[in-house]
Protein backbone atom coordinates (compact mmCIF):
# COMPACT_ATOMS: atom_id res chain seq x y z
CA UNK A 1 0.00 0.00 0.00
CA UNK A 2 1.20 3.45 -0.80
CA UNK A 3 1.62 5.18 2.54
CA UNK A 4 -0.11 8.23 1.09
CA UNK A 5 -3.40 6.56 0.39
CA UNK A 6 -4.92 7.38 3.75
CA UNK A 7 -3.74 10.96 4.11
CA UNK A 8 -5.88 14.03 3.77
CA UNK A 9 -5.23 17.68 4.46
CA UNK A 10 -7.60 17.42 7.38
CA UNK A 11 -5.39 18.71 10.11
CA UNK A 12 -6.13 22.32 9.34
CA UNK A 13 -2.38 22.78 9.31
CA UNK A 14 -1.69 19.88 7.02
CA UNK A 15 -2.13 16.29 6.11
CA UNK A 16 -2.85 13.74 8.79
CA UNK A 17 -3.64 10.03 8.62
CA UNK A 18 -7.29 9.13 8.23
CA UNK A 19 -7.18 5.36 8.47
CA UNK A 20 -7.00 3.36 11.71
CA UNK A 21 -7.32 6.48 13.81
CA UNK A 22 -9.45 5.76 16.89
CA UNK A 23 -12.28 8.19 17.65
CA UNK A 24 -12.71 7.38 21.32
CA UNK A 25 -11.13 5.43 24.13
CA UNK A 26 -12.39 2.29 25.79
CA UNK A 27 -12.88 4.35 28.91
CA UNK A 28 -15.54 6.40 27.16
CA UNK A 29 -16.35 9.89 28.23
CA UNK A 30 -15.58 9.47 31.91
CA UNK A 31 -15.84 12.87 33.58
CA UNK A 32 -12.19 13.36 34.46
CA UNK A 33 -12.52 16.76 32.89
CA UNK A 34 -13.98 19.76 34.65
CA UNK A 35 -17.69 20.45 34.08
CA UNK A 36 -18.72 21.85 30.70
CA UNK A 37 -20.08 25.41 30.53
CA UNK A 38 -21.94 27.01 27.63
CA UNK A 39 -20.75 30.55 26.90
CA UNK A 40 -22.95 33.47 25.79
CA UNK A 41 -21.50 36.84 24.82
CA UNK A 42 -23.17 40.25 24.44
CA UNK A 43 -21.21 41.86 21.60
CA UNK A 44 -22.24 45.41 22.55
CA UNK A 45 -24.90 47.31 24.45
CA UNK A 46 -28.28 46.97 22.83
CA UNK A 47 -27.71 43.40 21.62
CA UNK A 48 -28.70 40.21 23.40
CA UNK A 49 -26.25 37.56 24.55
CA UNK A 50 -25.47 35.01 21.84
CA UNK A 51 -24.14 31.49 22.24
CA UNK A 52 -20.48 31.36 21.12
CA UNK A 53 -19.27 27.96 22.29
CA UNK A 54 -18.38 26.02 25.39
CA UNK A 55 -15.46 25.34 27.70
CA UNK A 56 -14.43 23.34 30.73
CA UNK A 57 -13.86 24.99 34.13
CA UNK A 58 -13.92 23.83 37.75
CA UNK A 59 -16.33 26.55 38.91
CA UNK A 60 -18.35 29.51 37.71
CA UNK A 61 -15.69 32.13 38.45
CA UNK A 62 -13.04 30.23 36.49
CA UNK A 63 -15.55 29.58 33.69
CA UNK A 64 -16.06 33.35 33.34
CA UNK A 65 -12.34 34.06 33.29
CA UNK A 66 -11.65 31.28 30.81
CA UNK A 67 -14.54 32.49 28.64
CA UNK A 68 -13.00 35.95 28.59
CA UNK A 69 -9.66 34.53 27.43
CA UNK A 70 -11.06 32.03 24.94
CA UNK A 71 -13.93 33.99 23.40
CA UNK A 72 -13.21 37.73 23.80
CA UNK A 73 -9.52 38.20 22.99
CA UNK A 74 -10.43 40.84 20.41
CA UNK A 75 -13.06 42.87 22.24
CA UNK A 76 -15.86 40.64 20.96
CA UNK A 77 -17.97 41.33 24.03
CA UNK A 78 -19.01 43.64 26.84
CA UNK A 79 -20.77 40.98 28.92
CA UNK A 80 -20.48 37.21 29.30
CA UNK A 81 -22.85 34.58 30.67
CA UNK A 82 -21.66 31.08 31.51
CA UNK A 83 -24.25 28.37 32.09
CA UNK A 84 -23.57 24.78 33.20
CA UNK A 85 -24.17 22.68 30.08
CA UNK A 86 -26.23 20.27 32.17
CA UNK A 87 -28.68 23.12 32.97
CA UNK A 88 -29.71 23.59 29.35
CA UNK A 89 -33.06 22.03 28.48
CA UNK A 90 -33.51 21.57 24.73
CA UNK A 91 -36.36 20.62 22.45
CA UNK A 92 -35.87 17.24 20.81
CA UNK A 93 -34.83 17.18 17.14
CA UNK A 94 -36.92 14.01 16.74
CA UNK A 95 -40.10 15.88 17.63
CA UNK A 96 -39.13 18.90 15.57
CA UNK A 97 -42.05 18.70 13.15
CA UNK A 98 -44.73 18.03 15.75
CA UNK A 99 -43.30 20.56 18.15
CA UNK A 100 -43.27 23.45 15.69
CA UNK A 101 -46.38 22.41 13.76
CA UNK A 102 -48.77 24.81 15.49
CA UNK A 103 -47.05 27.78 13.83
CA UNK A 104 -46.97 26.30 10.35
CA UNK A 105 -50.63 26.84 9.38
CA UNK A 106 -51.10 30.33 10.82
CA UNK A 107 -49.93 32.52 8.00
CA UNK A 108 -52.40 35.18 9.25
CA UNK A 109 -49.88 35.98 11.99
CA UNK A 110 -47.71 37.66 9.37
CA UNK A 111 -48.45 41.20 8.10
CA UNK A 112 -47.98 40.05 4.50
CA UNK A 113 -51.08 37.84 4.84
CA UNK A 114 -53.38 40.84 4.39
CA UNK A 115 -54.54 42.43 1.11
CA UNK A 116 -54.31 46.19 1.36
CA UNK A 117 -55.15 48.56 -1.53
CA UNK A 118 -51.99 49.90 -3.17
CA UNK A 119 -52.85 53.54 -2.51
CA UNK A 120 -52.82 53.11 1.26
CA UNK A 121 -49.72 54.66 2.83
CA UNK A 122 -47.89 54.02 6.12
CA UNK A 123 -49.59 50.73 6.80
Amino acid sequence: MNPGSDLQAEGGHGAVPTRDVPTGTEAGSSPRDWPLWEVFVRAKRGLSHLHVGSLHAPDAAMALRNARDVYTRRSEGVSIWVVPATAVVASSPDEKDAFFDPAADKAYRHPTFYDIPDEVQHL
Binding site: P3, G4, G11, G12, V16, V21, T23
Partner: protein, 315 residues
Protein backbone atom coordinates in the same frame (compact mmCIF):
# COMPACT_ATOMS: atom_id res chain seq x y z
CA UNK B 1 -45.16 9.66 -0.48
CA UNK B 2 -42.67 7.01 0.51
CA UNK B 3 -41.20 7.71 3.95
CA UNK B 4 -37.53 8.61 3.78
CA UNK B 5 -35.00 6.79 5.87
CA UNK B 6 -33.06 8.77 8.44
CA UNK B 7 -30.02 8.52 6.22
CA UNK B 8 -31.91 9.93 3.23
CA UNK B 9 -33.22 12.80 5.32
CA UNK B 10 -29.71 13.49 6.55
CA UNK B 11 -28.25 13.48 3.03
CA UNK B 12 -31.05 15.69 1.80
CA UNK B 13 -30.17 18.32 4.42
CA UNK B 14 -26.51 18.11 3.43
CA UNK B 15 -27.29 18.33 -0.29
CA UNK B 16 -29.45 21.40 0.35
CA UNK B 17 -26.41 23.02 2.04
CA UNK B 18 -28.17 22.98 5.39
CA UNK B 19 -26.11 22.39 8.51
CA UNK B 20 -26.19 19.28 10.68
CA UNK B 21 -26.39 20.14 14.38
CA UNK B 22 -25.21 18.07 17.37
CA UNK B 23 -28.50 16.45 18.32
CA UNK B 24 -29.55 15.58 14.76
CA UNK B 25 -29.44 11.99 13.60
CA UNK B 26 -26.24 11.34 11.64
CA UNK B 27 -24.56 8.25 10.17
CA UNK B 28 -22.07 6.73 12.59
CA UNK B 29 -19.32 6.98 9.97
CA UNK B 30 -20.01 10.73 9.58
CA UNK B 31 -19.72 11.20 13.33
CA UNK B 32 -16.48 9.24 13.47
CA UNK B 33 -14.99 11.05 10.48
CA UNK B 34 -15.72 14.37 12.14
CA UNK B 35 -14.34 13.36 15.52
CA UNK B 36 -11.15 12.18 13.85
CA UNK B 37 -10.81 15.29 11.71
CA UNK B 38 -11.70 17.86 14.38
CA UNK B 39 -9.56 16.14 17.02
CA UNK B 40 -6.47 15.98 14.80
CA UNK B 41 -7.10 19.58 13.80
CA UNK B 42 -7.27 20.56 17.49
CA UNK B 43 -4.09 18.61 18.26
CA UNK B 44 -2.34 20.42 15.41
CA UNK B 45 -3.28 23.77 16.93
CA UNK B 46 -1.90 23.04 20.37
CA UNK B 47 1.26 21.27 19.12
CA UNK B 48 1.64 24.27 16.81
CA UNK B 49 2.26 26.43 19.88
CA UNK B 50 5.66 24.81 20.37
CA UNK B 51 7.72 25.88 17.33
CA UNK B 52 6.73 29.49 17.92
CA UNK B 53 6.81 29.38 21.70
CA UNK B 54 10.49 28.61 21.14
CA UNK B 55 11.12 32.23 20.08
CA UNK B 56 9.07 34.22 22.63
CA UNK B 57 12.01 34.84 24.94
CA UNK B 58 14.25 35.82 22.01
CA UNK B 59 11.92 37.99 19.91
CA UNK B 60 13.97 40.93 18.57
CA UNK B 61 11.76 43.67 20.06
CA UNK B 62 9.02 44.16 22.63
CA UNK B 63 6.57 44.74 19.78
CA UNK B 64 7.46 41.42 18.15
CA UNK B 65 7.36 39.64 21.51
CA UNK B 66 3.86 40.92 22.33
CA UNK B 67 2.63 39.91 18.86
CA UNK B 68 4.17 36.44 19.12
CA UNK B 69 2.63 35.85 22.54
CA UNK B 70 -0.77 36.88 21.18
CA UNK B 71 -0.33 34.51 18.28
CA UNK B 72 0.67 31.55 20.44
CA UNK B 73 -2.28 32.33 22.71
CA UNK B 74 -4.53 32.26 19.64
CA UNK B 75 -3.27 28.78 18.77
CA UNK B 76 -4.32 27.61 22.23
CA UNK B 77 -7.69 29.26 21.66
CA UNK B 78 -8.08 27.54 18.30
CA UNK B 79 -7.38 24.22 19.97
CA UNK B 80 -10.08 24.95 22.55
CA UNK B 81 -12.71 25.97 19.97
CA UNK B 82 -12.03 22.72 18.15
CA UNK B 83 -12.03 20.45 21.19
CA UNK B 84 -15.37 21.92 22.19
CA UNK B 85 -16.70 21.33 18.65
CA UNK B 86 -15.49 17.70 18.86
CA UNK B 87 -17.18 17.28 22.22
CA UNK B 88 -20.58 18.06 20.68
CA UNK B 89 -20.17 14.68 18.91
CA UNK B 90 -20.13 12.83 22.19
CA UNK B 91 -16.43 12.37 22.86
CA UNK B 92 -14.57 13.79 25.88
CA UNK B 93 -11.71 16.26 25.57
CA UNK B 94 -9.76 14.17 28.09
CA UNK B 95 -10.20 11.12 25.84
CA UNK B 96 -8.89 13.01 22.84
CA UNK B 97 -5.85 14.23 24.76
CA UNK B 98 -5.19 10.66 25.90
CA UNK B 99 -5.25 9.52 22.27
CA UNK B 100 -2.83 12.29 21.28
CA UNK B 101 -0.47 11.50 24.13
CA UNK B 102 -0.56 7.79 23.27
CA UNK B 103 0.32 8.65 19.66
CA UNK B 104 -2.91 7.07 18.39
CA UNK B 105 -4.22 10.35 16.99
CA UNK B 106 -1.84 12.60 15.09
CA UNK B 107 -1.18 16.27 14.43
CA UNK B 108 0.02 17.92 11.25
CA UNK B 109 3.58 16.90 10.47
CA UNK B 110 4.58 20.47 9.59
CA UNK B 111 5.15 21.08 13.30
CA UNK B 112 7.90 18.46 13.36
CA UNK B 113 10.29 20.89 11.69
CA UNK B 114 12.54 23.02 13.91
CA UNK B 115 12.47 26.81 14.09
CA UNK B 116 16.15 27.63 13.93
CA UNK B 117 16.13 31.38 13.24
CA UNK B 118 13.87 34.35 13.97
CA UNK B 119 12.98 34.46 10.27
CA UNK B 120 11.20 31.13 10.78
CA UNK B 121 8.53 33.06 12.70
CA UNK B 122 7.95 35.04 9.53
CA UNK B 123 7.97 32.00 7.26
CA UNK B 124 5.56 30.07 9.49
CA UNK B 125 3.12 32.96 9.58
CA UNK B 126 3.30 33.66 5.88
CA UNK B 127 3.56 30.14 4.44
CA UNK B 128 2.31 27.67 7.06
CA UNK B 129 -0.57 29.83 8.24
CA UNK B 130 -1.18 30.92 4.66
CA UNK B 131 -1.56 27.27 3.66
CA UNK B 132 -3.74 26.69 6.72
CA UNK B 133 -6.05 29.51 5.62
CA UNK B 134 -6.46 28.00 2.15
CA UNK B 135 -7.23 24.68 3.81
CA UNK B 136 -9.56 26.09 6.45
CA UNK B 137 -11.66 28.67 4.60
CA UNK B 138 -13.72 25.97 2.81
CA UNK B 139 -14.36 24.32 6.20
CA UNK B 140 -16.29 27.44 7.28
CA UNK B 141 -18.99 25.94 5.00
CA UNK B 142 -18.62 22.40 6.36
CA UNK B 143 -21.91 20.56 6.82
CA UNK B 144 -21.37 20.15 10.56
CA UNK B 145 -22.48 23.36 12.28
CA UNK B 146 -20.18 23.48 15.32
CA UNK B 147 -17.07 22.74 13.21
CA UNK B 148 -18.03 25.36 10.62
CA UNK B 149 -18.65 27.99 13.32
CA UNK B 150 -15.34 27.27 15.05
CA UNK B 151 -13.64 27.65 11.69
CA UNK B 152 -15.17 31.10 11.11
CA UNK B 153 -13.54 32.36 14.29
CA UNK B 154 -10.26 30.63 13.48
CA UNK B 155 -10.03 32.00 9.94
CA UNK B 156 -10.52 35.57 11.16
CA UNK B 157 -7.64 35.12 13.57
CA UNK B 158 -5.38 33.29 11.09
CA UNK B 159 -5.46 36.38 8.92
CA UNK B 160 -3.58 38.27 11.65
CA UNK B 161 -1.13 35.38 11.86
CA UNK B 162 -0.38 35.43 8.17
CA UNK B 163 -0.01 39.20 7.96
CA UNK B 164 2.33 39.44 10.93
CA UNK B 165 4.47 36.71 9.34
CA UNK B 166 4.56 38.55 6.03
CA UNK B 167 5.58 41.74 7.86
CA UNK B 168 8.46 39.97 9.65
CA UNK B 169 9.80 38.66 6.34
CA UNK B 170 9.27 41.97 4.55
CA UNK B 171 11.22 43.80 7.25
CA UNK B 172 14.06 41.28 7.16
CA UNK B 173 14.12 41.12 3.38
CA UNK B 174 14.53 44.90 3.16
CA UNK B 175 17.03 45.06 6.03
CA UNK B 176 20.77 44.32 6.01
CA UNK B 177 22.16 41.72 3.59
CA UNK B 178 22.47 39.28 6.50
CA UNK B 179 18.82 39.81 7.44
CA UNK B 180 17.76 39.35 3.83
CA UNK B 181 19.73 36.13 3.68
CA UNK B 182 18.10 34.91 6.88
CA UNK B 183 14.65 35.56 5.41
CA UNK B 184 15.58 33.77 2.17
CA UNK B 185 16.95 30.80 4.09
CA UNK B 186 13.72 30.46 6.06
CA UNK B 187 11.63 30.56 2.90
CA UNK B 188 13.92 27.97 1.31
CA UNK B 189 13.33 25.60 4.21
CA UNK B 190 9.57 26.14 4.66
CA UNK B 191 8.36 26.31 1.06
CA UNK B 192 8.28 22.60 0.22
CA UNK B 193 6.95 21.44 3.61
CA UNK B 194 4.17 24.03 3.20
CA UNK B 195 3.20 22.54 -0.17
CA UNK B 196 3.21 19.09 1.44
CA UNK B 197 0.71 20.35 4.03
CA UNK B 198 -2.07 19.75 1.52
CA UNK B 199 -1.38 16.03 1.46
CA UNK B 200 -0.45 13.60 -1.32
CA UNK B 201 -1.64 14.16 -4.90
CA UNK B 202 -5.26 13.32 -5.65
CA UNK B 203 -4.41 10.17 -7.60
CA UNK B 204 -2.72 8.78 -4.48
CA UNK B 205 -5.33 9.80 -1.94
CA UNK B 206 -8.64 8.52 -3.21
CA UNK B 207 -10.42 8.40 0.12
CA UNK B 208 -12.00 11.82 0.08
CA UNK B 209 -15.09 11.00 -2.01
CA UNK B 210 -17.21 10.28 1.05
CA UNK B 211 -16.06 13.45 2.84
CA UNK B 212 -16.92 15.39 -0.32
CA UNK B 213 -20.40 13.85 -0.46
CA UNK B 214 -20.90 14.80 3.19
CA UNK B 215 -19.60 18.30 2.46
CA UNK B 216 -16.96 18.02 5.13
CA UNK B 217 -14.27 18.43 2.50
CA UNK B 218 -15.00 20.70 -0.43
CA UNK B 219 -11.81 20.72 -2.47
CA UNK B 220 -9.22 18.05 -3.24
CA UNK B 221 -5.64 18.15 -1.96
CA UNK B 222 -4.32 19.24 -5.38
CA UNK B 223 -6.97 21.94 -5.84
CA UNK B 224 -6.09 23.48 -2.48
CA UNK B 225 -2.36 23.27 -3.20
CA UNK B 226 -2.80 25.05 -6.54
CA UNK B 227 -4.85 27.77 -4.89
CA UNK B 228 -2.06 28.32 -2.36
CA UNK B 229 0.66 28.49 -5.02
CA UNK B 230 -1.34 30.98 -7.09
CA UNK B 231 -1.84 33.17 -4.04
CA UNK B 232 1.74 32.97 -2.82
CA UNK B 233 3.93 33.42 -5.90
CA UNK B 234 3.01 37.11 -6.43
CA UNK B 235 3.43 37.76 -2.68
CA UNK B 236 6.99 36.39 -2.84
CA UNK B 237 7.76 38.98 -5.52
CA UNK B 238 6.61 41.78 -3.21
CA UNK B 239 8.76 40.35 -0.45
CA UNK B 240 11.77 40.36 -2.76
CA UNK B 241 12.38 36.71 -1.94
CA UNK B 242 12.75 33.72 -4.25
CA UNK B 243 10.72 30.55 -3.90
CA UNK B 244 13.12 27.58 -4.08
CA UNK B 245 11.59 26.03 -7.19
CA UNK B 246 13.11 26.91 -10.59
CA UNK B 247 10.08 25.39 -12.32
CA UNK B 248 7.62 27.98 -11.07
CA UNK B 249 6.21 29.87 -14.05
CA UNK B 250 2.90 31.33 -15.15
CA UNK B 251 1.04 28.79 -17.26
CA UNK B 252 -1.03 30.86 -19.66
CA UNK B 253 -3.09 27.91 -20.91
CA UNK B 254 -3.94 26.59 -17.45
CA UNK B 255 -4.45 30.07 -16.01
CA UNK B 256 -2.35 29.28 -12.95
CA UNK B 257 1.23 28.83 -11.81
CA UNK B 258 3.02 25.62 -12.72
CA UNK B 259 5.45 24.32 -10.13
CA UNK B 260 7.95 21.48 -9.73
CA UNK B 261 7.44 17.95 -8.43
CA UNK B 262 7.26 17.48 -4.70
CA UNK B 263 9.66 15.03 -3.06
CA UNK B 264 7.25 12.95 -1.01
CA UNK B 265 9.88 10.67 0.51
CA UNK B 266 10.75 13.38 3.04
CA UNK B 267 7.09 13.90 3.85
CA UNK B 268 6.51 10.22 4.56
CA UNK B 269 9.64 10.04 6.69
CA UNK B 270 8.43 12.94 8.83
CA UNK B 271 5.00 11.38 9.00
CA UNK B 272 6.41 8.06 10.12
CA UNK B 273 7.97 9.83 13.05
CA UNK B 274 11.44 10.38 11.64
CA UNK B 275 11.18 14.16 11.34
CA UNK B 276 13.63 16.41 13.17
CA UNK B 277 11.29 17.17 16.09
CA UNK B 278 8.63 14.42 16.32
CA UNK B 279 9.91 13.00 19.58
CA UNK B 280 10.60 16.42 21.13
CA UNK B 281 7.10 17.74 20.34
CA UNK B 282 5.37 14.76 21.92
CA UNK B 283 7.70 14.64 24.88
CA UNK B 284 7.12 18.33 25.59
CA UNK B 285 3.35 18.00 25.18
CA UNK B 286 3.09 15.05 27.57
CA UNK B 287 5.40 16.69 30.10
CA UNK B 288 3.36 19.93 30.05
CA UNK B 289 0.21 17.88 30.64
CA UNK B 290 1.69 15.86 33.50
CA UNK B 291 3.41 18.80 35.15
CA UNK B 292 0.22 20.83 34.89
CA UNK B 293 -1.88 18.21 36.65
CA UNK B 294 -1.39 19.79 40.10
CA UNK B 295 -2.98 23.01 38.79
CA UNK B 296 -6.04 21.12 37.58
CA UNK B 297 -6.25 19.20 40.84
CA UNK B 298 -5.89 22.35 42.95
CA UNK B 299 -8.61 24.13 40.98
CA UNK B 300 -10.92 21.13 41.31
CA UNK B 301 -10.26 20.89 45.03
CA UNK B 302 -10.85 24.64 45.52
CA UNK B 303 -14.14 24.41 43.60
CA UNK B 304 -15.28 21.47 45.73
CA UNK B 305 -14.38 23.18 49.01
CA UNK B 306 -16.07 26.41 47.98
CA UNK B 307 -19.22 24.52 46.96
CA UNK B 308 -19.23 22.63 50.28
CA UNK B 309 -18.87 25.87 52.22
CA UNK B 310 -21.79 27.40 50.37
CA UNK B 311 -23.88 24.34 51.23
CA UNK B 312 -22.88 24.50 54.90
CA UNK B 313 -23.80 28.18 54.99
CA UNK B 314 -27.20 27.37 53.52
CA UNK B 315 -27.86 24.53 55.99
Amino acid sequence: MVAMTQEQEFQELVDADQRIEPRDWMPEAYRKTLIRQIAQHAHSEIIGMQPEGNWITRAPSLRRKAILMAKVQDEAGHGLYLYSAAETLGVGRDELLDLLHAGRQKYSSIFNYPTVTWADMGAIGWLVDGAAIVNQVPITRCSYGPYARAMVRICKEESFHQRQGFEILHTLSHGTPAQHEMAQDAVNRWWWPSLMMFGPPDDQSPNSAQSMAWKIKRFSNDELRQKFVDMTVPQAEVLGLTLPDPEIRWDEAAGNYAFGDIDWTEFFEVLKGNGPCNAARMEHRVRAHVEGSWVREAATSYAEKTAARVQEGAA
